[in-house]
Structures are given as structure tokens and as C-alpha cells.
Amino acid sequence: MSFTGAVKSFGDVRAVAGVNLEIARGETVALLGRNGAGKSTTISLLLGLNEPDEGSVALFGGPPETAVRAGKVGAMLQETRPVPRVTVQELISFVAGRYPAPLPVPDALELAGIAELAGRRVDRLSGGQGQRVRFAMALAGNPALIVLDEPTAALDVEARHAFWESMRAYARRGHTVLFSTHYLEEADAHADRIVVIDHGRIVADGTGEQLKRSVGGNLVSFDLAGRGTEGLTLLPGVVSVEVRGDRARLRTDDSDATVIALAEQGAIRGLEVVPASLDEAFMALTSSAPSDVLETV
């Protein structure tokens, strides 16, 4: 699939402001961004639910609608409520039946972890179970690409864990998966590649490792052991200083110089140098105002 300079506005709001993106077959890609960053709009463009005002979106080499009609796409949309008065079995069989080469329904239910709910009515399930039914709807047709819009929103930890297990099992079959999330850990743990979107633009694109490195910098921390914090910001390389309890955390873009300077002052108790976390990378990437630079890592 590919986006080329896609733009979509709602009124004055540019929800998607010129996105360029390509995803290859078999990849598991996370679309990471805060609420309102443009993730859902990007997904609706991809699925052909909306049309871009400018630019183009191609799925499997053609317009999204054609790919959807051909049964190459399954989707789990946000903000849908359970369909009343049908059983899980009826619903999934119906959806599967729309596709040219669907999964056998028992397999689809098994993969989504809802085999034992087959006879239950969809509108009488718990939130987590309902979420898995929606996941089953996305994969029932055995489509080459599944798109999951914030699939784990409102799931508890256990349900979330089970959900990702299912997702990985599906991806292992060689399918392309694109999911959106605002949870960094999820993106890092479950995707081959993370696309960070902010203010309707892609601000970074790469593996979790690459993202961390792109922001650069390390975190040097040590025990203050009673000494003051004055002068720490003046040490070579230090960008910011944070004190938590008795521990100082210095963000630095030259950790060697910082450590040497600290050593000269004898402040090396419990000294630790760690790379910046993905969390920090994400903050650094998205906190700035919308920039015109499209950064590709």
C-alpha cells in the first residue's frame, strides 16, 4: 500500500497533512500517535471510507475501494458497537461468506480466541469479548491485509495480552498488519516497524531501535548522596537535569564527556548510563509544532 502526499481536511482542521508512506507485504506496522494526531483519518483514507482532498492512496496497486471489493482487506474499526440480536457464529459466518477465500469459521473463532463464545449473542458479551469479535470480523475473510484501529483501547491488561497473541498468530501466516495505537510499548513490542504520526504528518518511520537512536542522547543517572544539584546543567553535554528523590538524571548528548566531568567531581555513586527510552524518543518527536520537514529514519 502507499500514500502519496495525501491530504484530508475536515473544515479548518487538516487531519492528514501530506502523508507519504509505503508498506510492503508481510510487514507488521504500527501507526503511533497521540489522540487526534491523524491516525484514524489515515486509516479511513486507506480503507476508502474517505477520499483524500489531495494526493492519492493506493492499496495493492489500485484504489482502496477495488482492493476492499476484491476481499483483500479486513478491518477493525474504532467506535463501533456490537451488532444487536445476532450470535457470534452467525456474525462471523456472514462476514466470512463475503470473502472469496475465507478462513473456516471455527479457525477464525479460534484465532480470535472466542471459540467458546460461538453461540452467544454479540450484544451480550463483555467489552473485551466484543473487541475480539470485532477482531474476528477483520480476519474472518482471510484477507492479505488487516487494519486495526486502536484495537486494544479499553481492554484490560490480560485481554490486551491475549489480543496481541492472536494478532501475532495471524501475522505469522504471512499477512500484512497495520494497527494504530497510542501505546508506545505496544508499538515497540508488536510491530516490525513504527510510523510516528503527529499533526497529520509522519514525523518518524523505522524500528523501535532506530527511533530511539534518531532522537539520540543517553541518560546518565547517579546518587546525589547528599550533595547539591547546582552546576549540573553546566556540565559538558548535559541537556536537561531531573532529580527524583536522591537520584539525579541527566539527559546528555555526549555521555562520555558528562561521565568524565562527573568523575572529576567524584559524583559516581550508582552511576548508570542508559540509552533514551522509546517514551522519550516519542516525546521528542511529537512535542514540537508541526514542521515542514518530513523526517525519514
Partner: protein, 239 residues
């Protein structure tokens, strides 16, 4: 699309509100209206049977629109858009659902007429009335779809109820037109419900429906059909 029809018919028949309001109510009203106060008027028993079967059919047909409005709100229509089903299939499937779900009301009221109230007609008349009421309900399904696609779930419910009660009463489905003042009677002749019931009444009287009935119903079919298409087009972008 048959699968879609089957799924939606199932969902409708499992709706307690539909079963009570769309099937049980017309039957009960029919039995009540024809058996209060002696109730030995055979002609009224037949006319009211057709009227109440028509009323039930109108309610069930409009109910399809309520279903659409509900599906719009819960995101089911949006979900269908990301399956290989075409929008055309979805609309057509919904319209067909409407035409299937009117059958229980028609059958139930006719059965109450024949079995409880002792209405006697030839077999062909029973069959012709059932078929005519079935086909004649199509404009009302379209009206319901128009409301459902155009309005929110709540306003669709209200709009359908107003259409149903208003058209049924003015159309003479509940009470004989003879009780109406002259001006209302002439207005009634232009309502789709009045002409809809006439299809069945003329057959009960042993002759084919008149041209007037066909003409008025066709005009309403076109009007409601355009309304449905227009509403659908307008909503298609936002569903």
C-alpha cells in the same frame, strides 16, 4: 446478498419490540375493533381485517428504516463498507428485508380473520389479498429507508411512528371512512395507506383493484423511492 437478507431478517424477528408492535398489536387491535359491541357485522370484519393487515404491514415496512438508523449509529453500516459487499447490495438487501418482514403481520391478521372471526372467502381471494398487500407495502419500506438513512436513530423512530399512525388513521385503516367528515374522506383518497388497503378490499369484494388505486400508489412509490435514493446518497458519504 441472500446471506445478508437472512441475517437481517433474523435480527428483525428477534426484536421483541418488532414482534409485539408489528405483529401482535395489529392482531389484537383487529380482534378488539371487530368484537366490541356485539360484533356481528361480517362486512366490517372483512374490511377491518384488510385494514389491520395493511396497518401491520405498514408498521413492519417502516421498521426497516428504524433498523437502518440503528445500524448507522452502531457502525455496522460502516463495517459492511470494509467488506467486499457493495453499497448497492446492502441497500437492496435492506429493502428485501423489509419486504420479508411485512409477511408475518399480514399472515397473522388474515389468520385471525379466517380462524377467529370466521371471515369466509374463496382461496384465490385469500391468496390475492396476501400477495397484493405484500407488494403494496414496497412504498412504505422505501419511506422507512428514506427516514432511516436521513435521520438519526431517535428521530427515525419518531418519524416512523408519526408516518405510521398518521397515515393509518387518515387512510382509514383503523376506522371506516364512513365515519369521517367529507373533507377528510377526500383527503384520505390521496393517502398511500388508503389506496394500499383498497387493493385488498376490492379483492375481498370479488373484483380487481381499480386504476385509481394503482395510480395513486404508483405515484407514492415514485415519491418514496426518490426520497430513499436521495437520503441514501446523502448519507453514503458519512456512514
Amino acid at each position: 446478498m441472500l446471506d445478508y437478507l437472512r441475517l437481517e431478517v433474523r435480527r428483525t424477528l428477534r426484536d421483541t419490540g418488532f414482534v409485539i408492535g408489528g405483529i401482535a398489536m395489529p392482531v389484537m387491535m383487529y380482534l378488539l375493533f371487530t368484537n366490541l359491541g356485539g360484533g356481528d357485522d361480517g362486512e366490517w370484519k372483512t374490511a377491518s381485517m384488510v385494514g389491520m393487515a395493511a396497518y401491520g404491514a405498514v408498521g413492519s415496512a417502516l421498521n426497516t428504516g428504524g433498523g437502518v438508523a440503528e445500524d448507522k449509529v452502531i457502525g455496522w453500516l460502516r463495517q459492511l463498507r470494509v467488506t467486499p459487499m457493495t453499497p448497492r447490495e446492502v441497500v437492496l438487501g435492506r429493502a428485501l428485508t423489509g419486504s420479508v418482514t411485512v409477511l408475518p403481520a399480514i399472515t397473522a391478521v388474515l389468520a385471525a380473520g379466517g380462524l377467529v372471526n370466521g371471515v369466509r372467502m374463496d382461496v384465490w381471494q385469500w391468496a390475492a389479498i396476501a400477495v397484493l398487500l405484500w407488494l403494496g407495502s414496497i412504498p412504505f419500506t422505501l419511506l422507512g429507508l428514506g427516514n432511516g438513512y436521513r435521520l438519526t436513530a431517535q428521530t427515525t423512530g419518531v418519524a416512523n411512528m408519526v408516518c405510521n399512525l398518521g397515515l393509518s388513521v387518515i387512510g382509514g385503516l383503523w376506522f371506516p371512512l364512513a365515519l369521517f367528515p367529507g373533507w377528510l374522506r377526500s383527503l384520505s383518497a390521496y393517502t398511500p395507506t388508503n389506496r394500499f388497503a383498497q387493493l385488498g378490499v376490492s379483492v375481498a369484494d370479488g373484483h380487481a383493484p381499480g386504476l385509481g388505486a394503482m395510480a395513486v400508489l404508483t405515484a407514492w412509490l415514485l415519491a418514496f423511492g426518490s426520497y430513499a435514493v436521495f437520503s441514501y446518497r446523502r448519507s453514503a458519504r458519512t456512514v
